[in-house]
């Protein structure tokens, strides 16, 4: 069994989580090769074959061309699996590769299952097992679901090329806008989620943060709704935090949010949905309406 792993570069560097692909391949018991659109400096610490296409020529985001580069590597390796990370790069490119190869694709895989793959559904609340029909199988892996594995060694580099032009033109990266409080240094964070209900309810969250001597954070829907500035957002596309205490108020626990806060020392979640995915990481899950529980907690702390 063989897996072709699709590594990922950004700004000339190999993204660390590319090593999770090796962790997955080892669980699968598969031989591996990697394909990477990058440069020599971005080669992984890995003793096997790496098909390297020059990012200087093909760009770091040029999905039409990257699709054909992956196809060229597939033709040489004849893998059973073509494996991506479930990232903005992976979920963009994987379906294009699957279309080209007429291959089944399972997205955001979190575990191996008998004859298939386990993946989350219903906003992470449930799991499904899907079984692919045909080969090769294209997979994207949920970030953090498989442990990173650094195989070590020096890659045997094979140059990779593809013909043609892409239909998208990449104009460049724009760095994250950082304003407001640096939550990465906060020891206590009280975060507001959609369960807070409306913008007018936010002072209740701020008062709890004040009573605890902490800062206020937010989940993505709160920022998207314009209730709070993007600088307060905790998660994959916001800040990654690790306070001593994290209080999640009305946050369901989308995987992108969990990725940004699960390293907190102690996690308290307040949610009226007992099955909310935030319960998976919470040390204490308070099953209650945020607008009833939080003011009561603040009042008691103030005494």
């Amino acid at each position: 069994m063989k897996a072709l792993l699709v590594g990922e570069c950004r700004d000339g560097k190999l993204l660390e989580y590319s090593y999770e692909l090796f962790g997955f391949a080892s669980q699968l018991g598969a031989e591996t090769a990697m394909v990477l659109v990058g440069n020599d400096a971005a080669l992984p610490s890995y003793g096997g074959t790496v098909y390297l296409a020059e990012a200087g020529k093909y760009g770091e985001y040029n999905p039409d061309l990257h699709k054909r580069l992956v196809q060229a590597a597939v033709e040489r390796e004849k893998p059973d699996y073509v494996v991506f990370l479930h990232t903005s790069y992976g979920w963009d490119l994987a379906p294009r590769v699957a279309a080209l190869l007429k291959a089944p694709q399972a997205s955001e895989v979190v575990a191996l299952a008998e004859g298939g793959f386990e993946r989350p559904c219903c906003s992470q609340k449930m799991r499904q097992v899907v079984k692919p029909v045909g080969s090769p199988v294209v997979l994207t892996l949920q970030g953090g679901a498989f442990p990173a594995l650094v195989p070590g060694g020096t890659p045997q580099k094979q140059a990779l090329d593809a013909e043609g032009e892409g239909r998208t033109e990449f104009l460049g990266y724009e760095a994250a806008v950082r304003k407001g409080v640096d939550l990465t240094r906060a020891e206590i964070i009280v975060s507001a989620g959609r369960g807070v209900g409306k913008k007018e309810n936010l002072p209740v969250i701020a008062e709890l943060a004040k009573a605890l001597g902490g800062e206020v954070g937010a989940s993505r829907p709160v920022v998207d709704s314009g209730w709070m500035d993007a600088g307060a957002q905790v998660g994959v596309t916001g800040q990654t935090v690790s306070p001593k205490l994290y209080v999640a108020c009305g946050i369901s626990g989308a995987i992108q949010h969990l990725a940004g806060m699960k390293k907190s020392g102690f996690i308290v979640a307040i949610n009226k949905d007992k099955d909310a995915p935030i319960g998976e990481v919470a040390d204490v899950l308070v099953v209650a309406d945020v607008m009833q529980f939080v003011p009561a907690l603040t009042a008691k702390l103030a005494k």
Partner: protein, 258 residues
């Protein structure tokens, strides 16, 4: 200009999900359905573009699913779409993302849309495949995870949301397909007059058999709740009691409260 918006109806995610009789997807009993949140951003972007271009573009809404999806279609029409296509499929939940994309592409093939908007994923299945697969089937340029959109003279410029708050700017030419990420815009609430107007708009019903010739590439084998990792304390019941117990735990287990 012709614009297509693909819309899926999904259950409220605060629902309690139980396996269906076959044990491969959720049972629909007791579930409240609504427009997939990402698709609301797709509808809004199409309507904003129509407004920007002085009302010239025609917006067609398409939804694949059983009879209940008419409610999602009505909402999209009330938000400002001009007409709709309901691909009637009582068993759409058993189709894989490739089949759903094939159905949409088969419809779109003859229509020559200039732009297609979809959500970047559905809240229930979350495959992130359908939009891209439609673009591939039609040979359209495609950008995913879009949080900013501009259109001028057949050229689309978008910002894609990447990890760590970084964005990537991408330019592509129509015909193109855009998958919409949360935060792209502020989806509007339909007004009462627009809800009334929507009732008169055309909804063309097409049986799925007319559009689908593809076999599934993924078979659904199981649907279940995740194994609880456990360890966490769950506090239920009276609020005052919950407060006291939480404060006790915080004093006991953390150095945060003195």
């Amino acid at each position: 200009m012709k614009i297509l918006v693909c819309v899926k109806q999904v259950p409220d995610m605060e629902s309690r999900f139980r396996p269906d009789a076959a044990g491969v997807w959720y049972a629909e009993t007791d579930l409240a359905f609504r427009v997939n949140e990402y698709d609301e951003y797709a509808i809004e972007q199409a309507v904003l573009l129509k407004e920007q271009l002085g009302g010239e573009p025609e917006i067609t809404l398409l939804s694949v699913g059983p009879d209940r999806v008419v409610e999602a279609i009505k909402k999209g029409l009330a938000m400002g779409a001009d007409r709709a296509v309901h691909v009637r499929d009582p068993e759409s939940h058993l189709k894989d993302p490739f089949q759903i994309a094939s159905i949409i592409a088969a419809y779109a093939k003859g229509e020559e849309f200039d732009l297609i908007f979809t959500g970047m994923q559905s809240l229930d299945r979350g495959s992130t495949q359908v939009g891209v697969a439609v673009a591939e089937a039609l040979g359209y340029a495609c950008a995913t995870t879009v949080v900013a959109f501009e259109y001028a003279d057949g050229t689309v410029t978008v910002e894609r949301e990447l990890e760590g708050g970084v964005k990537g700017t991408v330019r592509l030419k129509a015909p193109a397909l855009i998958t919409c990420q949360l935060g792209l815009n502020q989806p509007r609430y339909p007004t009462l007059p627009n809800i009334m107007k929507a009732k008169k708009k055309e909804v063309n019903v097409v049986p799925v058999e007319q559009l689908l010739q593809q076999e599934a590439r993924l078979v659904l084998a199981q649907f279940s709740a995740p194994a609880k990792k456990g360890g966490g304390v769950i506090l239920e019941g009276d609020v005052a009691d919950q407060v006291d117990r939480l404060i006790g735990i915080l004093k006991d287990k953390t150095a945060v409260l003195r």
